[in-house]
Symmetry: C2
Subunit: 230 residues, 2 copies
């Protein structure tokens, strides 16, 4: 499936590229539909391509050898993902699964180097992108080291609202299906504990829960909980 250059132009990462450069990129791109629940690639697969999420939402997970799963990150529209070749890794470190029907654009891994040479800005942007992810990872490490579960969950939920919030009658809703288990796997706890916490919040009127759904009614309250320096 072909790809229009205007689609890329709207992504910040490509905003500064010339028409010619964009055309060279789209020439090698192929678009792919990923139905909900399907994986773009699996942990350990050899990295044949790198991707851009055009539409939808992905969860990147890793499983430990004893079968425990964690969610490494959520991929939002406009994010590059799976550009593991840039990190000189032969395989994907995690599995990218579509949380909703999604649309991705794929490029062969080999093209990465030539793209970077063709457009040094791309390299700069890539560094910045990975740098931000590193920052996020450190934030998460800091939270897991120093904060108790309830505050970690508050932080995670606020981040999701920030990245994927959508207005709704009663508040801001997380705009893709997310289970208690998902939240547990993002915060290093169990679905039971998450469920208890959300129940408590719900009876405070801070959130509204539901099957694979979460609406935040009182973000400031969560903020206070998350920030609160006891």
């Amino acid at each position: 499936m072909a790809l229009d250059r205007s689609v890329l132009r709207s992504i910040p990462l490509f905003a500064a590229m010339s028409d010619a450069q964009l055309d060279r990129m789209t020439a090698q791109a192929s678009a792919r539909r990923i139905p909900q629940g399907e994986a773009v690639f699996e942990q350990g697969d050899s990295a044949k391509a790198f991707y851009l999420l055009l539409h939808g939402r992905l969860k990147v997970t890793q499983v430990t050898r004893d079968g425990q799963q964690i969610i490494v990150r959520v991929v939002h529209p406009g994010d590059l993902f799976g550009f593991t070749r840039a990190l000189s890794r032969p395989d994907y470190p995690g599995t990218a699964t579509a949380a909703v029907d999604s649309l991705v654009s794929a490029w062969p891994s080999e093209s990465w180097d030539s793209f970077v040479e063709d457009n040094p800005h791309l390299a700069m942007n890539a560094i910045r992108t990975i740098g931000q992810r590193l920052d996020e990872a450190h934030t998460r490490i800091r939270e897991m080291s120093t904060e108790e579960v309830e505050r970690r969950v508050a932080h995670a939920v606020l981040r999701l609202i920030d990245q994927a919030g959508r207005r709704d009658e009663t508040g801001m809703r997380i705009d893709f299906p997310i289970s208690r288990r998902d939240i547990a796997e993002m915060t290093g706890t169990t679905l039971h504990t998450v469920s208890r916490i959300l129940s408590a919040w719900e009876s405070n009127g801070w959130v509204e829960g539901g099957r694979q759904k979460l609406v935040v009614c009182d973000a400031p309250a969560l903020q206070r909980l998350a920030e609160n320096v006891k």
Copy 2:
């Protein structure tokens, strides 16, 4: 203090650069001695420079607003650090403290872009370096989410031995002063728990402890503990 190009040449990051390129880099570099316990820069300082550790060992720490400290990483000789400008951050996200007397080379942050343009390989290398750090961060997140403290400590100690191990009469010794508190701050636990764990290991003959010192006598035993899929 000036810098010789042969010093840089020995660092993998610069190995592939031409004499001319290296000279352009050394021209703008200045070397600086950091005595044990002093900081190269502090968290929140504006990022005036980026650095290369030539000799010694640094601990990069962050403090949370309520005063808890964590060790983000250990900087080893040959590592670039503080190149936060590449990530388009105006300030340093952590404090870099010398664990032993150290020697660093500093470049003004503004030079980063011109260096990258001068040598695209540097950009590629930088991406790879940050990518590795991101990987390490994810590993740590995974460990903190799924493993109990003793295994996390085992992993951390093995990593330190790997990166900073030095032969010693009784085994491999961590080649810089490291306290129980440091290990606790690297693994998200308390110095008490670390102390108990190391005491237990010592009575098994796996390690030999001491004030700010740690020698691993039986790495395979730790490996087994760390890997063991119960």
